[in-house]
Symmetry: C2
Subunit: 665 residues, 2 copies
């Protein structure tokens, strides 16, 4: 159905890399994740559809569907919303497609088909599709790529078209976006008469590779590679177009028009050494670069991906998998600059990091990629949504004092101490929705004759390896417990292939058994962080992995100024935090003694989470002499027991303080 | 000459309060301060005059003198610069006046006289004086008090006029500003037909009290009280004028037009409980309020001054005497919010704090006021100027990482790691100049039959107490050494009066002798932090005070989140810091053990300062395993010796890191 196998066969220049696992092959039934996926299906997608149709009274209007109706000639009116409003409809359709691929739903499909009909009518004669420029600024197409998200919106619609085709086999939207991509290909390029431009917000690059994979049309892969290669070439295209349009800016601050680092267009992508600029842009770009590298065998592009991966995850990533240290430009700052309170760490950026990690895993199954994917998923991304599925964080701080937010100190204006209703700016919520709806894509990859297990998420999968179908039934109480069982059922008894299971970076002691017999874990069997089990498999063979999951005391690299002298707790993939709801205000008073016992236990709280209790030292205001500054001996800190909860679960009990990093005594 | 004695005599409603000590009565000859005062005379004032006349090629043009020439009809042209550009000329004249009062200089006086002639010609028929509204927006007077600094500029010119009259006896500028004040009085008030307004930037209030003190004309005191009383009354005048002018803003962001807290006009001043809004505005307001309270005996106004004083110094002041925790609005934030790195702590705000402390000392000689005055003076204010007198800090951080400033992390965009050439925005440098030029006003006050010594600054003073002249010769190596001698010479031998010497809050052990004989320091002799020596004085009586000056380990109130677990060193009035020049980069690696010895010693460095050496623990990057996050045991920190320097002297050796607060182990 997907057509991607055929593409592989007729391309000899690509790197060995694994393909997407279709979602109808992976049926998630997981104690932890099913809750969130059901939320997306039952709450998020219907709510978002209402919002896109301006039927949510408490939210500001979206106008997104109406914009398409106006562009389609079905309604009279003015364009409403942001220049990238179309992408909200596209992301919603993409999430719907993933849901339909996993779990058909004729009523939902009918709604989506209706939306696709309108989109098709909104497409222009020449294939162009963008309601802003069709309705509001006709004649101004492609005059402000730096600021106006034209190709970004195109990319999201392409992703939707591909996903919908894969889910339903229906070609209507795929044909629309193919025609649009053909038109884009006729406009952009370095040939005379073409625009040698690229978008201010990367996205089209990864989308065109998906379109290539779905259609087998190499034109789209070449176009994607063009956008990757052209970015950051001198003289700057953004400076050129800025001059051409007489210096006009779409946005009042004009920030994006000429700030080349913001959009990673300051240098050709292969020459970029450090993560800089808008975090989501960079991670979408890297995802597209990895895709192009995989499909074209471009080693220099892969080297750039690895270099920027290293910079991000080893120097600019929060322990929660959040990235982007500053709100100004929603951007990376510099190595080891990881402030916990003024952080940005946009939910979308961690989703982008997961996309990038997934693409790197497809090229090279190394546990470092899956470790980061898991870290971002179990902390920032799932933490980005409330347990009711109706409230979202854009910014994911690691330390919050509600007194300081909301005007107390205006450097925290971007930090919200509780999740917000999700339709103010519609980027993160639908991104969470589409990621969770497609979570089945991230669990396994098949590389050559090996099945790689990256994530421990329960359910049943049917994978194709060495030309035959293999069933895998995964069962666990992960992330609460490190015991995972994988029941393997090959189509034909006695088939030889490998099952590789990830030994997470956080796990210092793992025990692996196959049908109850110990399987050695040593340099011979553990490759790049995966225990590789090669054997002839019988139906019902049982692989059991027991990952020791103590509470870890994590410290930061000494150059991380914000965390000097501080410790964070982590258990399994979950980072922990202290919350006011459990421990009262002024969490900075708390010091965790170096040798104290950390007691983990499951608790009827926030969905049966494992909490961690510890006896800490606390210097309280009431023991102090009242002076602002004093040279008198500091009073002795008193002992008390505090409770840590998983970071992702914070801010589900009203407004209060929270901190991940705690002073160590 | 000054006329202020006569004013006191004919006013019966004022509180008992001391008067200004004329600068020609205090001749400073001090190891520490003479250097800076000479810099102001020899470098700052001449340089600033060139700058005001657009003769400094490396600085952006000022236009300030030229604006006056245009308004005076001496030149054709356009207004140039900020709406408050006039105040630069006024502050320069005021600083010149103080210099002339201390130390006549006919050549300088001639230049000043020439400037005053131009100012007089720029005054309008009706007394109005403001080059912006005369040249650039005639007809728009008083239409935007919230944003346009009209009365602020008036206030500075009044201060200049009073200072120049006091210094030289010349009335020309005093007459100009009196006529201007008369005109202002005819415009503003609650009577029908008058504008019930006040300025967006407080300053006129304190200036009018000076004008009243210099002229004895109670009209100016009443007008000052009107501005104090009217501020913050409902309905809001700023909302009213905003509507009247059709919502137009002078500044692009319009921030000041309706943000009432920013200009402390959200509530009547007597109802304000916490320091909020623009720090300089608040401190100028409080200075004016204290002045009005002193002159009118208004106890409710004094109570508001005390309440806001308490809030500032006990909850919102940095250990360096800096105030204003955030750059947004250059403003106070909230209680105990004192971030060291994103701080604002504008030099002008600490100067305003000194003004306010001085006024409170005139009303009530309490060492708490002088302690804060000293803290601000010896740390933030003198630190605001470089040792060459040509570079200035506006923002005075307590922790700086140059990698983070200048774009590294944009929350530090306002923080400069080195002092800047001073004419970009001309507020702080001339403020430092006028404060240092008038430092003689801050050392002593005379209250009843007592001479109060607030600051330990060497030199000779001639003070009037109980109707006779008393000479005081102060000698010390302060702030490097706590031994101070005061030689007292009354006009008539055997005169009875009190000499009160401050026992600073930082001093835990003081020894006082009079002519070599111990003078007891106990509840009977020490009142409000001053040791009061009552006796009949003989010429040459020698009072010797020995203030023990160990290095103190200062801790912050437990609610100061930024300083939890940290210590700062202080010796005498000087706060210390670590600088990269002495200790290498990554100062956050350093931990000061609780029991370690702190060795203070004078050193040939930065003008012979006392440095402090200590053996610290330091966890260096090179001892770390390279991981961004690690659960491996933290490597042991190594011992090394570091050097602390006085905070005010930082950033005189190039760009580098600095920190005041150090982790305590």
């Amino acid at each position: 159905m997907c057509g991607n196998e055929s593409v592989h066969n007729h391309k000899s220049t690509s790197m060995a890399h694994s393909s997407r696992v279709p979602l109808n092959r992976v049926n998630i039934r997981d104690e932890f994740w099913s809750y969130y996926i059901n939320l997306v299906r039952d709450v998020v997608i219907p709510y978002q559809w209402d919002a896109l149709n301006d039927r949510v009274n408490s939210a500001e209007p979206s106008g997104a569907v109406r914009n398409f109706r106006i562009a389609a000639g079905l309604e009279q009116g003015e364009f409403y919303g942001m220049v990238f409003q179309d992408s909200d409809v596209a992301k919603w359709l993409e999430a719907v497609a993933y849901m339909l691929e996993s779990d058909p739903d004729p009523a939902l499909e009918e709604i989506a088909d209706g939306m696709i009909d309108i989109i098709a009518m909104a497409q222009q004669e020449d294939g162009y599709l963008n309601t802003y420029f069709t309705v509001k600024e006709p004649g101004q197409r492609w005059t402000n790529l730096a600021e106006c998200h034209e190709l970004y919106c195109a990319g999201h619609m392409i992703e939707a078209g591909v996903a919908y085709y894969r889910a339903t086999g229906k070609r209507k939207l795929l044909d629309v976006v193919s025609r649009f991509a053909d038109y884009i290909d006729s406009v952009f390029g370095t040939e005379p008469g073409k625009l040698a431009g690229y978008d201010g917000h990367q996205e089209i690059e990864l989308a065109l590779v998906k379109l290539y994979q779905a259609t087998g049309n190499e034109r789209y892969l070449r176009l994607s590679r063009y956008f990757v290669d052209q970015r950051g070439q001198k003289p700057s295209f953004f400076a050129h177009e800025h001059k051409e349009r007489g210096g006009k800016s779409h946005w009042p601050d004009g920030y994006a028009a000429l700030n080349l680092e913001y959009s990673q267009s300051h240098l050709p992508v292969r020459e970029q050494e450090k993560a800089i600029g808008h975090a989501v842009r960079l991670l979408y770009m890297l995802t597209g670069m990895a895709d192009v590298a995989a499909e074209t065998g471009d080693e220099s592009l892969l080297a750039a991906c690895r270099r920027l991966w290293d910079n991000i995850v080893n120097r600019q990533m929060y322990i929660t998998g959040g990235v982007g240290s500053m709100p100004q430009g929603e951007a990376f700052s510099f190595d080891y600059d990881l402030p916990n309170d003024t952080v940005y760490a946009e939910t979308c950026a961690s989703i982008g990091l997961i996309f990038f990690a997934q693409r790197m895993l497809r090229i090279s199954p190394e546990a470092q990629f899956a470790d980061v994917m898991e870290r971002a998923l179990y902390n920032t991304v799932v933490g980005g949504m409330s347990r009711d599925g109706k409230h979202f964080f854009y910014v994911n701080p690691l330390e919050v004092d509600p007194k300081a937010c909301g005007g107390g100190n205006r450097k925290y204006d971007h930090v919200k101490p509780v999740r917000q209703e999700w339709f103010g700016c519609a980027c993160c919520p639908p991104n969470v929705a589409r990621l969770l709806a497609s979570l089945g894509e991230y669990i396994y990859t098949v590389q050559g004759d090996s099945i790689y297990t990256h994530l421990y998420i329960g359910g049943e999968a049917k994978l194709e390896v060495g030309g035959q179908q293999v069933g895998i039934k995964q069962t666990s109480h992960y992330p609460w417990d490190g015991r995972i069982s994988l029941e393997v059922t090959p189509e034909q008894a006695g088939s030889a292939f490998a099952l590789a299971v990830r030994i997470p970076g956080w796990c210092k002691q793992a025990v692996l058994t196959v049908n109850g017999a110990a399987y050695p874990l040593d340099a011979g069997t553990v490759v790049n962080g995966y225990a590789v089990i090669e054997r002839s498999w019988q139906p019902g063979d049982l692989v059991e992995l027991n990952l020791d999951m103590p509470v870890l005391r994590m410290h930061s690299h000494p150059l991380v100024r914000a965390n000097a002298g501080k410790v964070a707790l982590q258990r399994g993939p979950l980072v922990y935090c202290l919350e006011q709801a459990d421990n009262g205000p002024n969490l900075h008073e708390i010091m965790l003694p170096r040798e104290v016992q950390l007691e983990a236990g499951r608790e009827d709280l926030l969905g049966d989470v494992v909490t961690v209790r510890a006896e800490v030292l606390r210097l309280r205001e009431s023991d102090w002499n009242g002076e602002l500054y004093s040279d008198k001996p500091t009073p002795e800190a008193k002992r008390e027991t505090v409770k840590f909860i998983p970071y992702y679960a914070w801010a589900n009990r009203g407004e209060g303080e929270m901190t991940v990093w705690v002073r160590e005594q």
